[in-house]
């Protein structure tokens, strides 16, 4: 092999190094064969260089996408854990932590506003379903004729109906920020309104202040343990609704083309 051939060989090897290792190993000898027998060596060398750069970029994007997917899964698991903790803590610790629910709920809600995925929605629905399981004994008492649970039943049904009406409104105009903000404020007001109804039906003093008194861990006189829970449950459900109807982030389209060529 003479000097010009050695130089050409080195140049070919150099250009082939633009390809990722696995592709260079797989197709390199065949591409070299075509380069060495080419009647238009400059054009073909440019074609190989362009394809090598493109393939390396595609390979790097694919790796980045894979890492991104792992991060999304980790974020989903973390957020789900926070949601479950936000819902479970008030039930487990009674009236000592209700004030924390709006704080945690606000963080979760804001986080989910742009990140609510199908898997996360499932988590939210399951955990929200568990909340309603908590209400079942009270419903049973109301149905079986125990009049003492009537205020809870009425306020819960009213709250549920209001939430059901609010959900389509939020879904219908996800692009309009003013409408969305009004909907969010309305949903956030629902727990307070439902608690007011609950307190008024229970003939408590200052029904309008009941929600804030309960959520600040101060139980008004005459309010039993079960009544303390309801504002917390309403708040949790309102945040869950906001998270569930949050507009989905549009998926990023994959990079155009995956070939080695232009």
């Amino acid at each position: 092999m003479n000097a010009p051939e050695r130089r050409t060989g080195r140049l070919h090897a150099l250009v082939l190094r633009l390809y990722p290792h696995d592709l260079r190993h797989r197709y390199g000898p065949e591409i070299l064969e075509l380069l060495e027998t080419s009647s238009t060596p400059v054009r073909d060398l440019a074609d190989v260089a362009r394809s090598g750069v493109r393939e390396r970029a595609t390979s790097a994007l694919a790796r980045h996408s894979s890492r991104h997917s792992s991060r999304r899964t980790l974020r989903w698991m973390t957020t789900s854990a926070v949601v479950i903790a936000a819902e479970g803590a008030p039930l487990a610790l009674s009236g000592t932590v209700p004030w924390a629910v709006p704080v945690v709920g606000a963080v979760v809600g804001l986080t989910l506003t742009h990140r609510c995925t199908a898997k996360l929605r499932l988590t939210l629905f399951v955990t929200s379903g568990l909340l309603f399981v908590y209400l079942l004994p009270h419903l049973w008492e109301a149905v079986s004729g125990e009049a003492g649970r009537a205020p809870e039943l009425v306020s819960t049904v009213a709250f549920g109906v209001a939430l059901a009406l609010a959900a389509p409104l939020l879904r219908r105009r996800p692009g309009r920020r003013t409408a969305m903000a009004a909907g969010v404020i309305a949903v956030l007001a629902l727990p307070s309104l439902a608690t007011t109804l609950l307190a008024a039906l229970g003939h408590l003093a200052h029904p309008w202040q009941s929600y804030w008194l309960v959520m600040s861990s101060y139980a008004p006189p005459g309010v039993d343990g079960a009544l303390v829970y309801y504002p917390v449950l309403y708040t949790c459900c309102a945040f869950m609704l906001l998270a569930c109807v949050a507009p989905r982030r549009r998926p990023v389209p994959p990079p155009e083309g995956h070939g080695l060529h232009a």
């Binding site: 075509l34 380069l35 394809s51 080695l260």
Partner: protein, 104 residues
Amino acid sequence: MGLSELGRFSEPALLVLISLADGPKHGYAMQHDIAELTGGRPGPGTLYGAVRRLEELGLITPHETDDARRRPYELTSLGRRQLRAELERLRTVAHTGLRRLATA
């Protein structure tokens, strides 16, 4: 899954499939066959980009050989079916276009 999945790179891929339709060929033979077919010879990067994609899609498969620089490829049965479907589709498109030109 069809050739449309290859996006804007479907033309070189289609030409590779057509080149292999009458039997196995290695890269150099494919280049010359496509040049005769279209008047333009694909560069090595372009050609093996299409080969790689088609191999990934299971439309072509390499022959076992000792010569790593001249590895022949052939159509798989799936590749043959996909090529036939794509050519039928192109024939319909061309027929429609020609008919419209004639009536315009």
